[in-house]
């Protein structure tokens, strides 16, 4: 008699959780994430120095945070998406780990699901950590207060009434974008073994899209760069939910494609 489907699902879930724990332990043991976090933080603080050259009616920590993230992250996120956790599958393939793990009875679906979830968790921790520390680090230098330099970007009312919530909303956009960039690398690493090519792929595609999809045409609606310059996004007719939805949709597409492509593959070497 075949086992009931619910039992199989539960077994698969346990298996994914075990693999995910193994994946996260490996990910956080490496120093790469810490180094990238320090690099990101230093770059954001460099942007804060640049903020002092800009005129505003009142300098506040929230305005500084929005200024530096808007200045630095549109360039940094594709890089971090690929270099932080985007190579997770490519590294395994280089040392022949997928075939070894699968010879121990782990299904390809379990393996790639754990890889994808591990990459997402790593990326979320990295970007949320950098942004959180940057916001806290800016607070001793500038008083807490509303934004006045920009019109408030995507949600002007929220920026004026609750700038902290506005900063957190903007952070959510950046985290979703970083996860989506990581998905590009993960998808490519199913076919490409070269680690550098895999890590650099989000940057290359991002720049290609930037120039291919003219920002002064209707194509701006799908231009990734325009969806990261949040202080100009309102002028392009975007909304906060629309921008988050854009990155979530891209991320879902890349991760689903990666899981499907890996699960249906025949050769895991």
């Amino acid at each position: 008699m075949p086992p009931p489907p619910l039992f199989l699902l539960e077994k698969e879930g346990d298996s994914v959780m075990r693999m995910l724990k193994f994946e996260l332990r490996r990910l956080f043991r490496r120093r790469k994430l810490l180094l990238l976090a320090i690099l990101g933080f230093v770059l954001l603080m460099g942007g804060a120095v640049n903020y002092l050259d800009y005129g505003t009616s009142r300098r506040t920590s929230f305005e500084a945070f929005i200024f530096v993230t808007d200045l630095i992250l549109p360039f940094l996120l594709p890089l971090f998406g690929g270099f932080a956790t985007g190579d997770t599958l490519a590294v395994d393939r280089l040392i022949g780990l997928p075939a070894l793990i699968m010879s121990r009875g782990v299904s390809p679906l379990t393996y790639i699901l754990a890889k994808a979830l591990g990459a997402v968790v790593g990326q979320v921790c990295l970007i949320a950590g950098i942004l959180g520390v940057a916001l806290l680090a800016l607070m001793p230098f500038f008083p807490v207060g509303p934004l006045s330099m920009f019109s408030g970007g995507l949600v002007p009312d929220l920026a004026a009434v609750n700038p902290l919530l506005y900063c957190l909303s903007v952070s959510l956009v950046y985290i979703t974008a970083a996860v989506a960039f990581c998905g590009v690398s993960l998808l490519l690493s199913i076919w490409v073994k070269n680690r550098f090519v895999v890590m650099a792929s989000p940057v290359v595609l991002y720049i290609a899209a930037l120039y291919a999809l003219d920002v002064n045409s209707p194509l701006i609606a799908i231009n990734p760069y325009a969806h990261l310059l949040l202080e100009q996004a309102a002028g392009a007719g975007f909304t906060l939910l629309g921008v988050i939805g854009y990155w979530a949709l891209l991320g879902t597409f890349f991760y689903t494609a990666a899981v499907l492509a890996f699960s249906l593959q025949r050769d895991y070497v």
């Binding site: 956080f28 043991r29 810490l34 976090a37 320090i38 933080f41 230093v42 603080m45 804060a48 120095v49 002092l52 050259d53 800009y54 005129g55 505003t56 009616s57 009142r58 300098r59 808007d70 200045l71 549109p74 360039f75 520390v133 680090a137 001793p140 230098f141 500038f142 008083p143 006045s148 330099m149 920009f150 019109s151 930037l210 920002v215 002064n216 701006i220 760069y225 325009a226 310059l229 202080e231 100009q232 002028g235 392009a236």
Partner: protein, 151 residues
């Protein structure tokens, strides 16, 4: 590992706190006047507009070739009339030394903003410097509007 991460972050924070220039006087820095997009015309005595039509470079800064004379209490507003995607940053510099006289002011397409008021009490000869915070150059069109506040 967690403890090491936290210690490393704290160390970087402390390091940045010591090397960040001007953090003590961040609030005492000379601020640019408030951005104005409306209601300026009510205060004008005599204004004069100068057209501009140039590409704001993606990297580095450029200067408008013209030198403007600003008598005491004169202000300068930049009005962008184009609808090209991308903000531009503008500021007023001394015409001979190119030393900045005001802070950068970010202006989006179709917007206008006050970038400088001559509060030195003397006539100044100035030029306009422009730059971009984008990865793409921006084609900006509009006017530099010079006038005096009625006080």
């Amino acid at each position: 590992m967690k403890a090491r991460c936290i210690v490393a972050m704290l160390m970087v924070s402390c390091l940045m706190a010591t090397v960040l220039p001007g953090w003590v006087s961040a609030e005492s820095l000379s601020m640019a006047p408030l951005k104005q997009t409306e209601g300026v015309s009510a205060e004008l005595m005599g204004t004069r507009d100068y057209d501009f039509d140039f590409n704001i470079p993606a990297r580095g800064t450029e200067y408008d070739s013209r030198t403007f004379t600003m008598s005491a209490s004169k202000y300068c507003i930049v009005q962008r009339t184009d609808s090209n995607y991308g903000t531009g940053s503008f500021r007023v510099v001394d015409a001979s030394t190119l030393a900045p006289l005001g802070d950068w002011v970010v202006i989006d397409r179709g917007d206008s903003a006050l970038i400088y008021t001559n509060t030195s009490g003397q006539t100044q000869y100035v030029r306009i410097e422009y730059s971009s915070r984008n990865v793409l150059s921006v084609h900006a069109v509009g006017w530099f509007k010079f006038g005096e506040f009625d006080d």
